[in-house]
């Protein structure tokens, strides 16, 4: 190791990378690209591969923050989606398909229910169709879950666009206040116990909720006073011309979005009123949004930068999605296994390779900086800790 850590260009390129928090945007882009890749196939083998890739990256690169433990919840949600789909097919399937596996007793619903009947013959095509569809949706949800587990939401809020600065600040306040509320509830309950006011039911609810709410609102006014004394809210004058252009852009853009949605929904309108109109409207609205966000210049404390690790993570995700898209153009048969006639799903090389490219962040991304275990605990600070 000739490179010293103080040299930024060499330190940034060393392998394995030094532990640090990756820009949350990189994780989100990677996860959304993986979700896009999952959306292009219903092949259960490929979908399971994507699931494995996401799981592997999450296990190798998540930190020890509370949100890093969320991945399991998304896996459970995915399982729920798949089960729900299959059960729905069994109950409301209506018996389409040739390969009948078993026949359940039918329950016809009354006339107002338009002749819907419950249960009846259960066909393999239906079950598999529900399973494939549900699995695709579940894997897309799990990809989003991977982003949730890997990206730090507080840092994500810091990099919100300027137009959403106030909204982002309110969310930061909410995330910071929430743990204090738990402490507030405990304090109120302790006080109630000391007064022997341990009744249950609605009175207890009122007895806890109202003091906690009062406490929270008082705290918010104190916070507002602190913010105002630090100069928050003294916005500069906004140029009237800029305001006018911003408003025009936003309203024109939304009109375009409405027209585009109408065009998409109505089969009789010309094609240019559909998706192109929708896209154009969105672009114009976003332009107004960006322009509106430039009214104030704000400095940032230690901003997250895009460095080699971020680029590697983003590119591996986009490469996976692009390769999957190419596959769907070249050889779509392997991506959508046939249900009529029933066939075994097959695994071909190109899509499998595409998905494996998405696993590269497990090695290329810098490992997270853990907060719990210090590498070398300083004896002085640990000795002081219990006393403090």
């Amino acid at each position: 190791m000739t490179a010293r850590p103080s040299l930024p260009p060499l330190a940034a390129l060393r392998f394995p990378p030094l532990p640090r928090a990756l820009h949350p945007g990189a994780w989100w882009l990677w996860a959304l690209a993986m979700a896009t890749a999952a959306g292009r196939t219903t092949n259960p083998l490929l979908l399971t591969l994507i699931l494995a890739v996401c799981g592997h990256v999450v296990v190798r690169r998540r930190g020890d923050a509370p949100w890093a433990l969320a991945f399991r919840m998304y896996l459970l949600l995915g399982a729920f989606i798949v089960t729900g789909r299959v059960v729905f097919r069994i109950v409301f399937g209506g018996g389409q398909g040739d390969t009948v596996l078993l026949t359940l007793p039918q329950i016809p619903l009354p006339a107002w229910a338009a002749g819907v009947r419950l249960f009846g013959p259960v066909a393999a095509e239906q079950l598999l169709g529900g399973f494939y569809d549900g699995l695709r949706l579940a894997v897309m949800v799990v990809c989003v879950g991977a982003a949730n587990a890997l990206a730090n939401p507080k840092r994500m809020l810091k990099s919100l666009p300027g137009a959403l600065y106030e909204i982002g600040t309110a969310v930061v306040v909410a995330l910071t206040v929430a743990p204090q509320l738990v402490e507030s509830v405990q304090r109120v309950r302790r006080a109630r116990r000391l007064r022997a006011g341990g009744r249950k039911g609605p009175r207890a609810l009122r007895g806890i909720l109202v003091p906690v709410l009062e406490d929270a609102l008082n705290r918010s006014l104190a916070l507002a006073a602190a913010m105002a004394s630090h100069g928050y809210g003294r916005t500069g004058r906004i140029d009237p011309a800029t305001r006018l252009i911003t408003g025009l852009l936003v309203i024109t853009g939304l009109l375009g979005v409405c027209a585009g949605l109408y065009g998409v929904m109505d089969a009789t309108t010309p094609v240019y009123l559909g998706a192109p109109m929708l896209t154009a409207g969105l672009l114009v609205a976003v332009a107004g949004f960006v322009l509106g966000g430039r009214r104030l210049r704000r400095s940032r404390y230690r901003p997250d930068r895009w460095r080699a690790g971020e680029l590697a993570v983003t590119f591996s995700g986009i490469a996976a999605a692009t390769l999957m898209y190419l596959t769907s153009q070249l050889d779509p048969a392997g991506l959508y296994p046939s249900l009529t006639p029933l066939t075994w799903p097959e695994l071909s090389v190109l899509p499998a390779l595409a998905i494996l490219v998405g696993a590269l962040p497990a090695w290329l991304a810098p490992p997270p900086a853990l907060t719990q275990e210090e590498p070398e605990p300083k004896p002085v600070s640990t000795a002081k800790e219990p006393a403090a």
Binding site: A70, V171, S220, A224, G233, V250, G288
Partner: protein
């Protein structure tokens, strides 16, 4: 209760913002109700598998534009701190009941706060509460922007209820609104989940070739059989009970905070003296 009739609007909605809000709401409603009038041509963009995915991208953009427009005049620090703290309380209330027979505690405070602080504040609070709660309990997903705009509409509606009603009548009005809001929220989210849950090939799926009333009929059966009696009724009952039992006390607390914050008082900065 002297402040009950006073009109407080913490986040003032200017005429331009109303236009943006109306357009965005129209677009939002279409993105919820598209299965009712999905076009029959298979090559259209609204292909049954692709349309929800397109809307999943469009909805966050529309929501971001509206929220930016709402805050474009600059939010008062007091309103901002109140927004943050009330969102945190809402987000903290949400897991209290989630999962147990549809007891949903997130809406009653939203309705009460929307009533006290006005439609603009209610809209932003509704969106932020669900966003903060999703970040805290890790529920971020494609459904989040749709939940956010639904609950934002609930907050907006609570702020738009008639002002003159006070006392017991006010509580009754808010309780009724809470029940309606609970069922509407359930209906909207069901509408959104419908294409995802039922797919396209069951008896309860939407049919692109059918007419709007036929699809609506199918949807109503779908929502009745899957959630109306469990989740939605549980949510409506929670709202009703919470507003009736703790509504008056919470309203008093919120109005006291509103008075102390003195949102109506004009802020004047003196020019620096030489």
């Amino acid at each position: 209760m002297s402040a009950a009739g006073r009109r407080v609007s913490v986040l003032r909605i200017r005429p331009r913002t109303w236009v943006v809000l109306a357009l965005a709401s129209a677009a939002g409603l279409v993105m919820f109700f598209w299965p009712l009038f999905a076009p029959p041509r298979p090559e259209a963009v609204a292909h049954s598998a692709d349309a929800p995915l397109i809307f999943v991208i469009v909805m966050p953009v529309v929501l971001a534009v509206v929220l930016a427009e709402m805050s474009s005049g600059g939010i008062d620090p007091k309103a901002l701190a109140l927004l943050g703290v009330l969102s945190a309380v809402n987000a903290g209330l949400r897991p209290l009941g989630a999962g147990t027979a549809g007891i949903e505690t997130v809406f009653f405070l939203l309705v009460l706060a929307g009533r006290v602080f006005g439609p603009g504040f209610g809209f932003v609070l509704g969106a932020l509460s669900l966003f903060a709660s999703a970040l805290l309990t890790a529920g971020v997903g494609p459904w989040l922007p749709f939940q956010m705009i639904s609950s934002a509409w609930i907050g907006l509606g609570a702020g738009l209820l008639p002002r003159r009603v006070t006392g017991r009548a006010e509580i009754a009005l808010l309780a009724c609104y809470g029940v309606v809001a609970a069922y509407t929220f359930g209906l909207l989210m069901n509408m959104w989940f419908w294409p995802f849950t039922a797919g396209t090939d069951t008896q309860l799926s939407f049919d692109p070739t059918a007419t709007v009333p036929e699809n609506l009929h199918t949807f109503l059966i779908f929502t009745l059989t899957t959630s109306t009696f469990g989740w939605d009724t549980g949510r409506a009952l929670t709202n009703l009970l919470a507003i009736v039992l703790v509504g008056p006390a919470v309203l008093a607390v919120l109005r006291r905070a509103s008075r102390r914050a003195a949102f109506d008082a004009p802020v004047v900065f003196d020019p620096p003296r030489a």
